[in-house]
């Protein structure tokens, strides 16, 4: 029997791992792993296989911003329709509905500060239901998706111990 949670935890950390290796480390048959992955994809539990890239180490410039958005919910559909209007912009990488002082957290990726500013001024703010936007530019990513970006693991143990 394959442990679904363990499978998910494992590929969440390393989506490149092959089915053969997954079978070995999970103690399952390859066909079981393949079938389970297929069902997880079909059920929408697995939504994609992405690569984490630290763009700051490349020659490509990227600017990221978190935007706190206050909106007026609409009768019958609540926040869904406004969220959809916002997430359809390709420069928007994430949209979350939050509890607390504001409603939507929008994460945005642009090439330059100007581009991000332009998006907020020309596209986001003018939406009817948007009451206010508060934009925060990301200065440094220390940790993302559970991975520490600023330091590499170093094995400082003695090489041989009883």
């Amino acid at each position: 029997m394959i442990n679904r949670d363990e499978l998910l935890r494992t590929i969440e950390k390393n989506s490149r791992i092959g089915i053969d290796e997954l079978a070995v480390i999970l103690g399952a048959e390859e066909v079981e792993v393949a079938n389970e992955l297929k069902s997880l994809e079909e059920e929408g539990v697995i939504c994609g296989y992405h690569t984490m890239i630290d763009w700051s180490k490349t020659s490509i410039d990227k600017v990221m911003a978190l935007i706190e958005v206050k909106v007026t919910p609409q009768r019958g559909i609540g926040f869904d329709s406004i969220a959809e209007r916002i997430y359809k912009y390709p420069e928007v990488t994430s949209v979350y509905l939050l509890s607390g002082g504001f409603d939507l957290m929008v994460i945005l990726e642009g090439k330059t500060l100007k581009e991000v500013a332009g998006f907020v001024t020309n596209k986001l703010s003018p939406l009817d239901t948007v009451l206010s936007c508060s934009t925060h530019f990301i200065l440094q990513k220390y940790k993302d998706h559970g991975t520490i970006l600023t330091k590499k693991y170093e094995d400082t143990r003695e090489k041989i111990t009883p």
Binding site: G27, R157, I160
Partner: protein
């Protein structure tokens, strides 16, 4: 000048591991599967409690036997895991690692000439500590065909009128062997009949990969005659904090505490505060680490099968103990050549007793990526000596 040294200690041979360690240090770029401690950092919330305790100025001695809060948590833990009832005030002693507890138990219980049964291969401390306490160590050579478990017959073959203590080192370093309930029940009969005490070193109790670890103290009639030793090093990745504990019958713990009081005073205070947090909120961390170890264990077993490196499936600790007999080399030669030719360090089985000859200890307290690099080297080496 007179000889400044005591014969007892001079006569004890230095640890086989130490010798190997000195060689490894001289080899540049060596990678190792020779480590006997977790690769994980101590979970942050546990370290955080240690740091807070320093900030709050908790920098004094604790009571000799340890912080009451910690002893209570130890008792809660043993109740939760093994349904054992210990009194925190009189049956628990917090020590500087499980190692200190081993030493104390021998010193509190041994009279000159008493015999201690020590199954080997096993951790390097039992034999020297027994000798230093004035005991005569009697080695039981565990057998590969029994998956290195201890059997009642083996005890009977070695027991004499002078036998006082049996060391029970399971889950085992270096073999990864475990003792299941049925195994423990069968040796318990002999132990009771021969009126022996047990020093049960259960430091790897959290790291078993099939069923949950069973403590011999759970077997009827064994609680009264067992010193249970455990600690924080392996389960919570806290080796450097040096913290362990012993639980057992009040009259034995009282004497162990006396030695501890005069030799050590108390275990490190910072570590004790951190350990309270580990026991209260560390279960999930342990489960996460166990899952990782188990994946690595399966990975290595599969690789060894493909290399045709024979080994029984170990269900505990984080070691695999493959046989290298078919290469016509001693363990020491094998490990030395592997180190020289492939810059890969493993520990020869003989470091854990003479009967470890023909085996090497491979630790999987390494990330899968590191294990893969090491396996490449091992494969290359083995294919040369087929």
């Amino acid at each position: 000048m007179r000889n400044p040294l005591a014969d007892t200690i001079v006569d004890i041979k230095p640890s086989g591991i130490r010798k190997f360690f000195d060689v490894v240090k001289t080899i540049d770029g060596a990678i190792s599967l020779g480590v006997g401690e977790p690769d994980f950092d101590t979970p942050w919330h546990i370290r955080d409690e240690g740091i807070y305790s320093l900030e709050k100025g908790r920098t004094f001695y604790t009571s000799n036997s340890g912080l009451m809060e910690l002893k209570e948590e130890v008792c809660n833990y043993l109740k939760r895991k093994h349904n054992l009832d210990y009194d925190p005030a009189s049956q628990v002693l917090v020590t500087v690692g499980g190692s200190e507890a081993i030493d104390l138990a021998f010193r509190a219980m041994i009279n000159p000439g008493d015999e201690v049964l020590i199954p080997q291969p096993s951790y390097v401390s039992y034999e020297p500590c027994a000798i230093l306490a004035g005991a005569k160590p009697v080695i039981i050579e565990l057998k590969e065909e029994n998956e290195f478990r201890l059997t009642a017959e083996e005890i009977l073959e070695h027991v004499t009128d002078r036998t006082k203590i049996l060391v029970l080192p399971f889950p085992n370093n270096p073999t990864g062997a475990i003792m299941e309930r049925k195994d423990l029940e069968s040796i318990a009969e002999v132990i009771k009949e021969k009126d022996i005490f047990v020093l049960s070193d259960e430091i790897y109790s959290e790291l078993t990969y099939t069923d949950k670890h069973v403590s011999i103290t759970e077997i009827p009639g064994m609680y009264e005659r067992t010193i249970l030793i455990n600690g924080f090093s392996k389960a919570y990745a806290m080796t450097g904090w040096r913290l362990g504990y012993a639980c057992g019958p009040k009259e034995i713990l009282e004497q162990m505490t006396k030695i501890h009081q005069y030799a050590i005073m108390c275990a490190p205070t910072t570590s004790q505060y951190a350990a309270v947090e580990a026991l209260k909120n560390g279960d999930e961390d342990v489960a996460m680490m166990r899952e990782q170890y188990n994946q690595r264990r399966r990975y290595l077993l599969n690789e060894f099968r493909e290399m045709r490196l024979p080994c029984f499936e170990p269900f505990g600790a984080f070691y695999i103990f493959p046989s290298i007999k078919r290469f016509g080399m001693s363990s020491d030669e094998f490990a030395t050549k592997l180190l020289q030719e492939e810059k890969l360090a493993v520990v020869p089985g003989t470091a854990f007793g003479d009967c470890g000859e023909g085996f090497i200890r491979i630790s999987y307290a390494y990330s899968l990526e590191d294990l893969k690099k090491a396996v490449e080297r091992l494969k290359r080496f083995i294919s040369r000596y087929e």
